[in-house]
């Protein structure tokens, strides 16, 4: 079984977010980058599935060379090989076209993504890849098992979940619960250094959107403390001062 896992390289969850003075660029200096947490779940699942069926896990990342450290970490967790599309990830449309193009040339049985990247928060790349390849997409997959020629997935929906059966290939976005996070062991870390990491050039894609500016939320004003004896007044306050209840 051939599995492709799409990896994004994102600021650490505790990183302070700063932008350039003109607000157009994210300032990455001093920021630690990590493998997007949901992608780590997707990767852990892929490694388990491949181990069970003697398959192969390839990771793909669209981005600049700085991400190679994150890609090596993914190799240490257990991916077999890696592909980097050598271009800044301009937007989700650009990323999805690069990955779909790679898959057209190198078919796989399934494409696993994270349900959302923690920087763009789009949940768009997986669905776009599936549309470009005209294959099913299960965006909020909480579990995945193989049953013969099909995959059975639990997908989160409004107010509940649905059980889905899909033939391969398909795209899934991994949610919490799909797999246990794997911690790379020493052997994994050693072997990751020599696993193949191929760099390919991007295809051209029309630009349909562009970030004009970033901004930060206005900090909240100081907290209003309510003494325990007066806790019961909370709801009256929420009504009269904030009108949220």
């Amino acid at each position: 079984m051939k599995i492709l896992v799409c990896i994004s390289h994102v600021p650490d969850t505790t990183a302070r977010i700063e932008f350039s003075a003109d607000k157009k660029e994210f300032v990455s200096s001093g920021v630690t980058y990590i493998l997007n947490p949901y992608d780590e779940i997707a990767l852990s699942k892929a490694v388990d599935l491949a181990a069970a069926s003697g398959g192969n896990v390839t990771i793909i990342h669209v981005g600049e060379a700085a991400a190679e450290a994150t890609m090596r970490k993914a190799l240490a967790i257990g991916a077999n090989d890696a592909v980097r599309v050598n271009a800044a990830a301009r937007d989700s449309n650009f990323v999805a076209h690069q990955i779909a193009d790679y898959v057209k040339k190198n078919p796989v049985d399934m494409i696993l993504c994270g349900r959302e990247s923690s920087d763009h928060n789009g949940s768009s790349v997986p669905a776009m890849i599936s549309a470009l390849l005209d294959i099913p997409c299960i965006l909020f997959a909480k579990s995945l098992v193989i049953e013969g020629a099909n995959a059975i997935l639990e997908n989160e929906i409004q107010g509940g979940k649905e059980i889905i059966s899909t033939p391969m290939p398909f795209v899934a976005g991994a949610s919490e619960g799909m797999a246990e996070w794997k911690i790379p062991n020493m052997r994994g870390i050693m072997s990751a250094r020599t696993k193949p990491l191929q760099v390919i050039e991007p295809i051209e894609v029309a630009q349909l959107s562009k970030v004009k500016e970033y901004d930060k939320p206005i900090p909240r004003s100081a907290v209003k403390l309510i003494p325990v004896e007066e806790a019961g007044k909370l709801f009256e306050m929420l009504r009269s001062e904030k009108k949220v209840i």
């Binding site: 989700s92 928060n121 669905a127 776009m128 549309a131 099913p136 929906i157 409004q158 959107s209 929420l238």
Partner: protein, 325 residues
Amino acid sequence: MSVLVYIENVEGKFKKSAFEVLSFGAAIASHMKLPLVALSIGDVDESELNKAGKYGASKILNVSDDKLKSVNVQPYTSVVSQAAKAEAAKVIVMSASFSGKAIAPRVAIKLNAGLGENVIDLPEMSSGFVVKKGAYSGKAYAFVEILSDVKVISMMPNSYKVVENETAVTVVPFTASLDANDLRLVVKETIRSSDKVSLPDAEIVVSAGRGMKGPENWGMIEELAQILGAATACSKPVSDAGWRPHSEHVSQTGIAISPNLYLAIGISGAIQHLAGVSSSKVIVVLNKDPEAPFFKAADYGIVGDAFEVLPKLIEAAKAFKASQN
């Protein structure tokens, strides 16, 4: 030309998010001086469809097909794309619900349109078309210009007020052609906990963390939520420990929410937790530790023991609700 909104139903009923999308679409349509067309897919009866007529649409396309009874991303994408073409839609809007998040990017690809996903405000349309969305997990906003002629938008639930705007509306059947490829994926079973308020749509969320000590103490959380008509949520360690289902886990690696009111009980306010809840309009924190980081992100704070304060809050909420009726 038109503005097209896809309005999602849950088991034949429109939820608030459908009316938000209609109101949002109506504001864009009025700015662009275009008619607003709504699209409903699934099994929705006449009286329910008429409800959607109260928010400014001049036409409702009704797609009722046995094959489309449950939301299935592939064929739904085909239907929305075909309707957009039939109505020469310039802007296509839908809710960033679980299924909307999967459908919108696919529609954008099919129509070669730019996508503005998880949008939290009306687009700026005076020069160009710029949407506002969250970025860096609640720590920032991005203003994204959509450069294409046709634009697809998914809007975050709870980010736009429902505005009534009664116009003459006609319901017309619409048929889309689906091929076998569209129907490869099969929804075998749909499981909904119908008695509960769904978390992403909830206006009020009562959320609790490890400070509650164990699953046996969640009765108070559920009772408070029930009185307030709120959804329940929890921090990550709570769902990791199996005290609560994963579907309640909010924030960075759970669901990002932006309710009008977020009540956090026994949650420390770690940065990963704040990431997904900080866009809530009002935050109330109950924690016994005055140094808990959450107080810095809160509008109201109660420093106290949850086991002592919660019963008081439950009584007060009951009295408050009773005084409102």
